[in-house]
């Protein structure tokens, strides 16, 4: 370049000094390391790509978030429905386990309460009271019927009034149960009582029921 500057061409004498005068005639030549430090296209690509990636991930994030919102909304609806189901079943359970319902059903099935309680004293085997069989219809409700109102039980059928299809399912187990208990308990009980007066360990002997 310095050679060019000095080799003045005669055909353009006016322009050359004009052009060269305000500009420095020398220039710093980048050395090897400086050349290496120059920005490269790769960097630009990295920056742009990462910006793009950032935007994409934000987009993905917001898609996921709104998708989550829909999931939450759906689950909340499900939860509400299930809470309703729980409430419905809870209310059913509550009314069915009310003493009025249990008593009416028990007596419909023929269970009565013995109004003559008899006690067996474990220490000496003494029988307190005079054992008398309960008369039929001698239940707590008896012929008088249930006297404690419960509006929730209106329309709830007795177990004895259920259609046969529903009772049939429970029938087999019902017929097995008495067999098992009669087989297990009386033999054991009579065996002990005939041998010796009742030995008490403070607990009431319970029949083995399967």
């Amino acid at each position: 370049m310095s050679n060019l500057a000095t080799a003045t061409l005669p055909i353009q004498p006016l322009r050359i000094p004009r052009r060269t005068a305000p500009e420095p005639s020398i220039e710093v030549v980048a050395n090897r390391s400086q050349r290496r430090a120059r920005p490269k296209v790769a960097y630009a690509i990295v920056v742009v790509a990462s910006l793009g990636g950032l935007m994409l991930s934000q987009l993905a994030l917001s898609i996921a978030l709104s998708d989550g919102a829909y999931t939450i909304d759906r689950l909340e609806v499900t939860q509400k429905e299930q809470a309703r189901a729980v409430q419905l079943l809870g209310e059913d359970l509550g009314r069915l386990s009310s003493p009025q319902n249990l008593a009416v059903n028990a007596e419909a099935l023929g269970m009565v309460q013995n109004a003559n309680p008899v006690w067996l004293r474990m220490s000496d085997g003494a029988v307190i009271g005079s054992p008398t069989a309960a008369a039929g219809g001698a239940g707590v409700l008896g012929t008088a019927g249930s006297k404690v109102a419960n509006q929730l039980l209106a329309g709830v059928p007795l177990v004895t009034q259920l259609p046969p299809a529903e009772t049939a399912e429970t029938a087999p187990t019902a017929s097995v149960a008495p067999e098992a208990s009669t087989g297990a308990t009386p033999g054991a009980a009579t065996g002990e009582t005939t041998d010796a007066p009742l030995a008490s360990d403070g607990r009431v002997p319970a029949p083995t029921t399967r």
Binding site: L65, S66, G68, A69, Y70, I72, D73, R84, Q87, L88, G90, E91, G94, R95, S97, S98, P99, Q100, A103, A115, N116, P117, V118, W119, R121, I128, G129, S130, V140, L141, G142, A144, S146, K147, V148, A149, N150, Q151, L152, L153
Partner: protein, 589 residues
């Protein structure tokens, strides 16, 4: 291009930019400042949804963990009449399907919708059903009628119906407490509603992160009673059965635990079913509460136990003190009392006076003590004031109203004698049970309790009633009284009706005349029985009261109730049978 034209362009560009910016600024100020409020509210209305969060009312439990009052959701069904009449599913079609779930005739549903539109073509809101249950709601929703809208409402259900309905009380249509512990313990049960605001998208989904809770909702706490619901049911059933058999107007049975003062059953006949309050309103409005607390009565002879116990404690008599009891007894100051049935002169001991329930005998014993002293004992037994339960509309009972300067009633001579055997004064059934509890508990009166406490979500109990007793009479006076009451049970005229094999029973009967409301007495009686078992170590007190049993107007009407209830209580609680026999005290000399 000259320098001038370049400058001109620059200036033009600057002016244009400035103009554009100022347009933006003006618009910005207009939106952000001038119309900010209206626009904001419009925007909020469009997207932001305020929502009330329900603070659920606490449940009521019995002492065994059975739910007596439960908070549930019910659903209001509303229709948009203007949409309904235009819809493909016409009111006629819908009403046919809705009718069975709403319990309203289909024609009525159609009529109400058509009427609403006729009255106002823009009608957009009409109640079709209020507080329908979940079952009906689910079925109605499944019909997918586009012009129906639903809103949930808190409500109360009482799974056991009238069991303890007299004590629990009930709530009104807006779930506001109206009676019983629902009302008196509302501070424990009531929840606090909260509120939140959230924004939602066009398709109705909540925008994430937009929820702002403006007020935290707080559920109510659970209330635990001392009542045992199964026993309560048994007592109510038994009471109602006999009360109807004997034609009583009303009846009360109180079962109290001797050592703690806890009420394990308080049965009223009739009893309100909190699920169906209207049924009781129409028949017997007094049965909306608990007469055990709210209906004081002249107790009659069951009160002799208190007079006797007071005299024993004061050391003025013992179980064998001799009394010559004629049929009629008069005093110099003009009092005149007689026994219920005509008899010759009896030579009775104190035990005999109780066994025969002699008014003349009791009057002579009672006169050994001044009226002031007797009144003091009555007060110490908790009479004349509300019990610790502080039940809604609980009565204090009446001990007289001619008050001396020293705060003692100035009974006239007749009332002075009458008050010894339970006439001329009134007590509530719960107070009567408490008298017997005191005597059964070695003279220590325990505070009467119905509420075991308020249970916080973390399980801690607050508002636990005091368990500190007060010594009203000496243990020996109490024991002697029980001994005499055992003799009433074993030798009295109802002995065979009240005996429970294996247990020593102590009890006293009462057949009190009831006031006619005009200062005299009517032909109607209040028959009662109060007692305890097992008498060797009393665990439970049972007090039975029947008002005006027309088919049997003696205390014999109360005997089967007393016996059945006491038997059930002893069985239920596995009370060890007495290992001994009742003492045999002389009744005559």
């Amino acid at each position: 291009m000259t320098r001038r034209t370049a400058r001109g362009r620059l200036a033009l560009a600057a002016v244009l930019v400035l103009a554009l910016v100022s347009v933006f600024v003006v618009r910005l100020i207009d939106i952000q400042v001038v119309r900010a409020e209206t626009l904001n509210s419009q925007a909020v209305d469009k997207r932001s949804i305020p929502e009330e969060i329900l603070g659920m009312r606490g449940d009521i439990f019995d002492s065994t963990g059975v739910v007596l009052a439960d908070s549930v959701l019910r659903y209001d069904i509303t229709a948009s009449p203007k949409t309904a009449v235009e819809s493909a599913i016409t009111p006629e079609i819908a009403a046919e399907k809705l009718s069975p779930y709403l319990g309203v005739p289909a024609a009525d549903i159609v009529k109400s919708i058509r009427d609403a539109v006729a009255a106002d073509p823009e009608s957009d809101y009409l109640y079709l059903g209020k507080k329908v249950d979940v079952d009906a709601f689910e079925k109605i929703r499944a019909l997918e009628i586009p012009w129906l809208y639903y809103s949930s409402q808190p409500a109360r259900t009482y799974p056991n119906g009238a069991v303890a309905g007299n004590l629990i009380g009930f709530v009104g249509s807006a779930n506001e407490p109206q009676a019983g512990v629902e009302l008196s313990e509302d501070s424990c049960l009531a929840g606090v509603d909260g509120s939140e605001v959230y924004e939602r998208s066009e398709d109705g989904v909540r925008i994430p992160g937009s929820t702002v809770t403006t007020k935290q909702a707080q559920n109510g706490n659970d209330l635990v009673l001392t009542i045992e619901s199964d026993l309560q049911w048994y007592v109510q059933q038994t009471l109602a059965k006999y009360a109807q058999e004997y034609g009583a107007k009303w009846g009360v049975v109180v079962v109290q635990e001797v050592k703690t003062g806890r009420l394990v059953a308080v049965a009223d006949y009739p009893t309100v079913d909190p699920n169906d309050v209207d049924a009781t309103v129409n028949t017997d409005i007094s049965a909306l509460g608990s007469r055990a607390f709210t209906a004081p009565f002249e107790p009659g002879s069951t009160f002799k136990t208190l007079t006797t116990a007071s005299l024993l404690d004061a050391g003025l008599i013992d179980t064998g003190t001799h009394v010559t009891a004629p049929y009629r007894f008069t005093t110099a100051d003009g009092a005149d009392v007689n026994d219920s049935e005509s008899h010759g002169t009896w030579n009775l001991t104190t035990t005999g006076v109780l066994k025969e329930s002699s008014n003349t005998g009791m009057s002579q014993l009672g006169l050994l003590m001044t009226a002031d002293q007797r009144y003091d004992y009555m007060k110490k037994f908790g009479l004349g004031e509300r019990t610790e339960v502080d039940f809604g509309a609980e009565e204090t009972g009446y001990l007289g109203d001619d008050w001396d300067e020293d705060g003692v009633p100035d009974w006239d001579p007749q009332t002075n004698l009458a008050s010894m055997f339970g006439q001329g004064i009134t007590v509530t059934a719960v107070q009567m049970a408490s008298i017997y509890q005191t005597i059964a508990n070695g003279g220590v009166r325990m505070p009467v309790s119905l509420v075991a406490g308020c249970r916080l979500p973390d399980g801690t109990m607050t508002d636990v009633p005091s368990s500190e007793g007060t010594q009203v009479i000496s243990p020996s006076a109490a024991r002697s009284t029980v001994d005499m009451l055992e003799n009433v049970a074993t030798k009295g005229w109802l002995a065979s009706k009240v005996s429970i094999p294996g247990y020593r029973v102590a009890m006293k009967t009462g057949t009190a005349q009831q006031p006619d409301g005009n200062g005299g007495y009517s032909k109607s009686y209040l028959v009662s029985m109060a007692g305890m078992a097992p008498a060797d170590d009393p665990q439970y007190v049972v007090s039975v009261n029947l008002s005006g049993p027309v088919n049997m107007n003696t205390s014999a009407a109360t005997a089967p109730i007393f016996r059945d209830v006491m038997t059930q209580v002893l069985k239920d609680h596995r009370v060890v049978p007495s290992g001994s026999l009742s003492p045999d005290l002389p009744t005559n000399f």
